[in-house]
């Protein structure tokens, strides 16, 4: 297993700069997830690490060795593709053995390695089958098996679960997590699915427009997003943003007034702000509750019942549509006025540039206690 380091990595396609100088250090045995909207460059970044694309600028280090000019094989990486990329005319066994045959191992050696991987992935019964005789989940297991047999320094996954149905995706997600725990391997995983990112990652790298927006553990990103982009991207349903105005700077936070609503105190460090500044108030749907005395008010437009929880879509006085998540069945009615009470400790405040204001330490402790 190995560490991976990206130093100011740049990638240009023609005159378009796709990756705009990425710095990242990945520790040995870490599970890193690249997440971002489609077209953000996360897959390109993975392909740069793999050696399937040439690096335009900066250095890529694997085990503290610059590997910019090395082939994928020399880098000793293995990759699992979204489309599985199995050889359609070869059996499961041949698919897994194909990359090993040139490595010079004896037939017995190859057989043993393939059988070991097949056992880990429960593929023993399927070794003689062709890919088209397998289900999507089985195919993806073969693709992972093909990576395992090579005993690579780094595993790369390019949206490996995107082609699977929802139930299978959960099952494979658990298997990949188990695999990482058992193998203690360095893994880089690309996905646009934030549930996969949250559940699998040691650290998540949020990428937008070829730049890293934030790197951190799943809960760090959830509780302390660095900016509006990360705040909106991590968490589902996404965070509500309300335009607001600074009313008062206090010792225990900043009092802001959402336009056309009451005021709330956000526990952030507000020394850079002054009264009257335009800011963005961020509230997650799960941190809002219907309450007769709540400072925010609006009209319920749509109700979605999910059984164990429900979503209210509330149109605020200033025209913003915000989402409220509640437990159990919804008590509110459509077209009714309702007031909303946010959980103060979980409020976020973003300045006009979209950068998050730092949380006050004592409130961070309180937030942790609440969580």
């Amino acid at each position: 297993m190995a560490s991976v380091e990206l130093q100011n990595i740049i990638k240009d396609f023609g005159s378009t700069r796709i990756i705009q100088g990425v710095d990242l250090k990945i520790e040995e045995g870490e599970f890193i997830v690249f997440v971002g909207p489609s077209g953000c460059g996360k897959s390109t970044l993975l392909r740069l690490v793999a050696g399937l694309e040439d690096i335009s600028g900066g250095d890529l280090l694997i085990d503290e060795e610059v590997v910019n000019k090395m082939s994928p094989k020399q880098r000793q990486i293995a990759m699992v593709f979204q489309s599985y990329a199995l050889y359609p005319h070869m059996s499961v066994f041949e698919n897994m053995a194909f990359g090993l045959e040139l490595a010079g191992g004896s037939k017995e050696d190859i057989r043993r390695k393939v059988m070991d991987a097949a056992q880990i992935l429960e593929l023993e019964e399927l070794l003689e089958r062709k890919p088209k005789q397998l289900s999507g989940g089985q195919r993806q297991r073969v693709a992972i098996g093909r990576a395992i047999v090579r005993n690579p320094k780094v595993f790369l996954f390019d949206e490996p679960l995107s082609n699977l149905d929802a139930a299978l995706r959960v099952q494979m997600r658990i298997e990949i997590a188990k695999l990482h725990r058992d193998m203690q391997a360095t893994m880089i995983y690309v996905t646009h699915d934030q549930t996969e990112a949250m559940t699998l990652a040691d650290r998540i790298v949020v990428i937008n427009k070829g730049r890293i927006e934030q790197v951190g553990s799943p809960l760090e990103l959830y509780h302390r997003p660095a900016n509006k982009f990360v705040a909106g991207f991590i968490g589902s349903p996404k965070m509500n943003f309300l335009p607001a105005e600074v009313v008062e700077l206090l010792a225990d936070g900043v009092r802001v007034k959402a336009l056309d609503s009451g005021s709330v105190v956000v526990p952030v460090e507000g020394s850079q702000l002054s009264v009257g500044d335009r800011v963005s108030l961020g509230i997650r749907p799960e941190h809002l509750a219907v309450s007769a005395t709540g400072p925010l008010s609006g009209t319920v437009e749509v109700i979605e019942e999910l059984g164990e929880s429900h979503f209210l879509y509330v149109r605020m006085g200033d025209g913003e549509l915000i989402t409220v998540q509640g437990k159990g069945d919804a008590k509110a009615r459509r077209s009714e006025k309702c007031n909303l009470q946010p959980v103060d400790a979980h409020l976020h405040l973003f300045d006009a540039g979209g950068v998050a204001l730092p949380l006050l330490q004592q409130h961070e402790d309180k937030a942790k206690a609440l969580a």
Binding site: A50, G51, L52, S71, P72, K73, Q74, I77, A78, M79, F81, S83, A85, L86, Y87, P88, H89, F98, G99, L102, A103, K130, R146, R150
Partner: protein, 325 residues
Amino acid sequence: MTPTDAAVHKTAPPTRAARTERSDLTSSRLRAAFLFLLPMMTVLGVVAGWPLVRTIWLGFTDANLVDLSVTEFIGIENYYAVYDGEAFGLLVDPEWWNAVWNTLWFSVISVSLETALGMAVALVLNLQFKGRGLVRAAVLVPWAIPTIVSAKMWSWMLHDQLGIINELLMGVGLIAEPIAWTANPDTAMWAVIMVDVWKTTPFMALLILAGLQMLPGDIYEAAKVDGVHPVKVFFKVTLPLIRPALVVAVVFRALDALRIFDLIYVLTSNSTTTMSMSVYARQQLVDFQEVGYGSAAATLLFLVIALITTLTLMAGKVNLSEDSK
């Protein structure tokens, strides 16, 4: 009677009615399909069926171009007959078997060369490079020229006195004196094969390229990540995957090659060294005016091609079914 029973009874008769309606629908569809097919069948019958049947029939007669009205049925005498202890007929005509041998030799060599070269060209054209569209179009030029034109062009280039090929080869000192490429028995067949390869390789390349473009790109990236050598990838991945397309291309080309006429006729006329089955049949029919005998030769030509095609397709199918195991 429970409500469900009532529902069943109510819906049963319409179901039966629907079934008869459906079969009406099916038969009207079949009628429409037949009507649409009819013009095509008629045209095929007139332009392909009738000449074929007539040729086969003429093969059993003593028809002669001098006077077709006195044609008489003579059974299989055109194929095999014995007069005074001596055998006559196509099946014992050494010239006919020479033509069959020439045709097979020409087909095997030219189709093999065209497949190999076509594959190489297709692999190059399948790469991403600047001006690829232009190169693709340029490669097709030899194929786009009518055979009669390219054959005449080559026959001038190969001319023993005035040809540019002799001129060039003598210029660089490879040969000391001009060679009569198309007249010399040692070189005539190779000259024909060379021109055919020049002309038809683009066709093979195009068919193989179509096969190559159907291949998924991701498996090549997977092979690259696995560090598999490109040569191994070609033989172990590309070749097996394009084999169905390759078999079709080879069958098409073989069919074409087995009835080769124009190229050989223009380059070498009626020379026995290069005479193909088609050239033989034409010579009997037109030059010797033996319509009956020539028709018999044409019928045999048809049978030989049908046999070889069937065998090739069967071989191809066997391989394909192995694939799906």
